[in-house]
Every structure is written in C-alpha cells, then in structure tokens.
Amino acid sequence: MTRYVLRRLAWALFVVWAALSLVFVLVHGVGDPAAATLGPRAGAEQLREFRRKHGLDRPLLEQYARYVAGVVRGDLGTSFRDEQPVSRVIATRLPRTLLLGALALAFELVIGLGLGIFAALRRNTIWDTGTVALTFVGISAPTFVTGLVFLYVFAFLYGWFPVGGYGVDALDHLRHAILPAFTLAIFGAATYARLMRSEMVEVLGSDYVRTARAKGASRLRAALAHAARNAMLPVVVLVGLQLSTLVSGAIITEQIYAWPGMGRLAFEAISALDAPLVLGVVLVTAATVQAGNLLADIAIAALDPRVRMTG
C-alpha cells in the first residue's frame, strides 16, 4: 500500500510539474507578456525596460530555471500588473473559492443522493422517469446558461438573492455564495443522482437486502441503512475525482456572479497575460486537482485490494 501511495504521489507531482511547464512555455515562449501588460501603445523603449526589469530578456531556459527554483523555495514571484506577491493574491482568493466549492459539494450530495435514492425506490414509475429526465437536463445545461438564468430569475425578478458580488461579512458572504454554489452544483448533483440510482437499483436486488427485509427491517430502513450505505461507495470515489471540477469549474460561475475567487483570478490573469499570476493559478489549481485525484485513488485502493496489484 505504501509503495502504491508513493508511486501515485510521484505521478501527481509529475503532472503538476508538467502542467506548470506547459503553461510556462505557452505564456513565455509563445505569448508576449510584456506587450500584453503594457498594451498596444507601448513604445519600444518601454517594452525593453519592462522586459529587462522582469528578466524577460533572458533566454527562455534561464527564465524557466529561475522560476522553478523560486517555486521550490515557495516564491511565486510578483504580479506584473500591480506588483503584488502572487502568493499573497492567491492566499486571499483561494479561501473564497473553497467556500463556494464546499457549499456546492454539500448541495451536490444532498440533492444528488436524495434524488438517486428516491428514483431507485420509485423504480419504473413516472417519478423515476421524471427524475432521470431531470438529471439529463442537469448534465446538459452548462453553468453559464443556468447561472445567467438563475441570476435573472432568482436575483433580479424575485430578489431572493443578491445580484452577484462577495458581500461584507461572514453571513453576507454565505448569502452571496448560495446562488453561485447552487449553479456550480447542478452538474455534480445530476451526475451523482444518476450513479446513485443505478447503484441503488443493483444493491436493492441483492440477497443481503432481501435478508434484512426478511428479518423485519422496514422498507425504508432496508433501503437507507443497508442498501444506500453500499451504493454510496462508488459515489464517494467519484466525489474525490470531481472535487477538481469545483475548483477549475468555478471560472465560469465566478465570472457570472462576480465572485472574486480563484476562477475569476485565473480569467483575469490569462486575459491580461500576467505571467507570474497565470503560472501561480495553474500551479495551485493543478495541485488541487491532483490532491483530489490522489485521495480518490487511495480510497479506491483501500476499498479494493485488486487495484493495488495492477495500478
């Protein structure tokens, strides 16, 4: 098990490094951050001065070596635009996205598992068909569509929620987070509902559930205490794999609701081609994605010894 975890960890580190290097080559090798930051009206002298100041006039390999050495020391450089340390910018933005992600995950699990169990218990009735159709709409409606529609209906028409923004204190942050978190949760909720339904249908037909019923457990108790517990295993694994989408998928949602988290930061940084900021965001995002996948893989290996042999 330890060897498996170590090998998996090495791979995760490799992926983070590869993502960082790929984006480094993209931003510094293909793009021109100096021109992007200073705008089209910058003179040749200004550009030269900017490049000299930020070391952009050095050979690409040297810039790369310097950047990686900095990252290893924990120094992510300073943003081109406002000269702020990248690590400080990320430290203010990341908790906001984590709040959004945590709330979205709660919505996903409550709605997803609830609908999945409900549909499985009402199998082959109109309720089941309706739920399955609903989840199909859920996986087909992209966040920018649901986000804009929710914003219009629930924030503007009904005024139940604020029209975007972050709020001023803890309770206000939460109030502002509900609509974006719900938007972010729809796809995951629909995915979990579909998986939970099919798992439940399978488990409900198994011998041990029949035994539980025969021993006098009520239908609901057999379904929840006996069947749902086992049906949830694959869902838990999927949650680990999907955690990453809550971080990277927040780009669109945060853009719609003007939520100043990592997703919006990523978008701003890429639009402005603010190289140190782009790389910092990619580093943190890739690391989060890998951490989620790693946890999921370890969970799978812990649950299923066969994976350890082959993986």
């Binding site: 993209l26 569509v145 853009q255 978008f267 890429i270 995002t285």
Partner: protein, 289 residues
C-alpha cells in the same frame, strides 16, 4: 457493421428519437436558417438602438421600410434573430470540426497504442493520463489567449487537440480485445500484414464506439466552445456564436433578457439533443451494456 435490427430498436427508443429530432431541428436552424434571415447579421441597423438610452430595441420592433426585428436588436443594434441563426451555424461548425479532429486522433492513437503494445502503448497511455489531469478550461483559454488569432480553425485545433483522450482509451481497449480474437490471430498466423489487419479487422470494430462517443463529444464541444466564447476567449466579436452572444448579451440581462435566453435555449437544446442521441445510439448499438 450495423445490425439490421438496430434501426427497429432505435425507433422504439423514445430518448433517441427525441434526440434525433432535436439534432435535426438545430441543424436545420444552422444550415438552412441563415438563408431566411431577415437581415444581414453584421449590419448595425439604423433605429436598432434607442437614440436616447442606447438600449437595444425590444422584440417585435418594426423598422419602417426594413422589416420586423422579431427578437429585437442586440447591444449595438443588429438583428438578434439573424445573428442567432448565423451564430448557431458557427457554433455547430466549430463543434463538428473539433469533434472530427478529436475522433480522428482518438481512433488513430487508440488503435496504434493497443495494436503496437510495449513502449508505444505506455507512452500513449501516460500522455492520456497527463492530458486528462490538466486543468482543462484553464489550459484551453490560456492556449487560445496566447495564440491570439480569432480564427475558427485555431479554435477547432485547440478544442479537438485536448479532447481525444476518452475515445483513445476506448479504442485501445477495443483493439486489445479484437487482437486476441481467434480469427484475427488466424489471419495473423497466415501472414496478413499489420496494415491489413488493422483496416479489415480492427477498424470496423471501432466504428460503433466512435459513433457513440463522437455524438456525445459534439455536445461537449458545444459547451466547450460556448464556455470559451462566453469568457471572450473563443469565437471573438463581431463573429456571432452562441457563446459570444451570451457574452455580449449579459450586460442587458435585466433590460432585454431575450438576448441571454434565446442563445441559452439553443445551447441547451443542442447539447440535450446530442446527449440524448448519443445515449440512444449506445443502447441501440450495444444492447449488452
């Protein structure tokens, strides 16, 4: 390749029929629709925006001597309906282009990896792992921002080049399966060259999963394109696409919601249609699963 009973199964599959109808409808909008567009989609109409407030005129506004703007004007006074028709065409074009590229890459790489085995296989599979682990949208918008050519071909290349991995995995598994079949082993023992084995025995088995995955891939590409264009880093203005129309329409969300709702409806209909059709094809072509 296709079971003659498949069509009968297909007709009985309600989801697949609805999917096919939606896909047909959206394609009609995209390919035939622009011929009936009441206006030039890029013409800023005189009287398209309110001279005082600058707001786009509402749906149903009649411009004397020009015709009626059934869905009103967009933020700079162009006919929304005509733009919607043209935008659907662009979105489908990009999605189909990217899907074709992804399917071609996926089938090719998957089959070669599965057939060759050994180091080729290892390299291919690890590259797929790597590509699937990258923060997808982030890399895509960074790529498109850096290339910075508002060119539909570039967009297709970026999207297709990042989306072939799932299909390649399936193709590889399928190839490994077929390679061990007795009649393929027999053909190999008789000295059939590799190219012939791949073309005659492996490729035909690849068609069904490619069809199913390709159909759902179109849905994903529609979302992908709209997401990038919504962020302003996909199809760039003034070219209309469903995503870029959302991008420019959202500033008028409260005054003129049709500018957001109309492209949204078309996106959802398209994605829903291709997803249903893909799911239906899976049921029909592979009843075992």
């Amino acid at each position: 390749m296709m079971d003659p009973r498949a069509w009968r199964r297909f007709r009985r599959n309600r989801g697949a029929i609805v999917g096919l109808a939606l896909v047909g409808l959206v394609n009609a909008v995209a390919w035939i629709g622009p011929a009936f567009a009441p206006f030039d989609p890029s013409e800023q109409l005189e009287g398209g925006t309110d001279p005082q407030t600058g707001a786009p005129v509402p749906p149903g506004t009649h411009l004397a001597g020009r015709g009626t703007l059934w869905l009103g004007a967009d933020e700079v006074g162009r006919d929304e309906l005509s733009r919607l028709l043209a935008g659907t065409r662009i979105s489908l074009l990009v999605a189909f282009g990217a899907t074709l590229l992804a399917v071609a890459l996926g089938v090719l790489i998957g089959i070669l990896a599965g057939y060759a085995g050994g180091p080729t296989d290892t390299v291919a599979m690890r590259s797929i792992d790597l590509l699937q682990s990258l923060p997808f949208l982030l890399v895509a918008i960074a790529l498109n921002r850096v290339i910075d050519r508002p060119d539909l071909w570039v967009l297709c290349l970026v999207m297709g080049g990042l989306s072939w991995t799932t299909l390649a995995r399936v193709m590889r598994a399928k190839t490994l399966q077929v390679r061990e079949l007795e009649y393929v082993q027999a053909a190999r023992a008789l000295g059939a060259p590799a190219a012939r084995l791949l073309l005659r025995h492996v490729l035909p088995n690849a068609i069904q999963p490619a069809l199913v995955l390709g159909t759902t891939l179109v849905a994903q590409m529609i979302i992908f394109e709209s997401a990038m264009s919504y962020l302003g880093l996909g199809v760039r203005p003034p070219t209309p696409s469903l995503g870029s129309m959302l991008h420019s329409g959202q500033q008028w969300l409260t005054h003129q919601p049709v500018l957001v709702l109309a492209p949204s409806a078309l996106i959802v209909a398209t994605v829903f249609g291709f997803n249903l059709l893909g799911e239906g094809l899976r049921d029909v072509l592979d009843p075992k699963d």
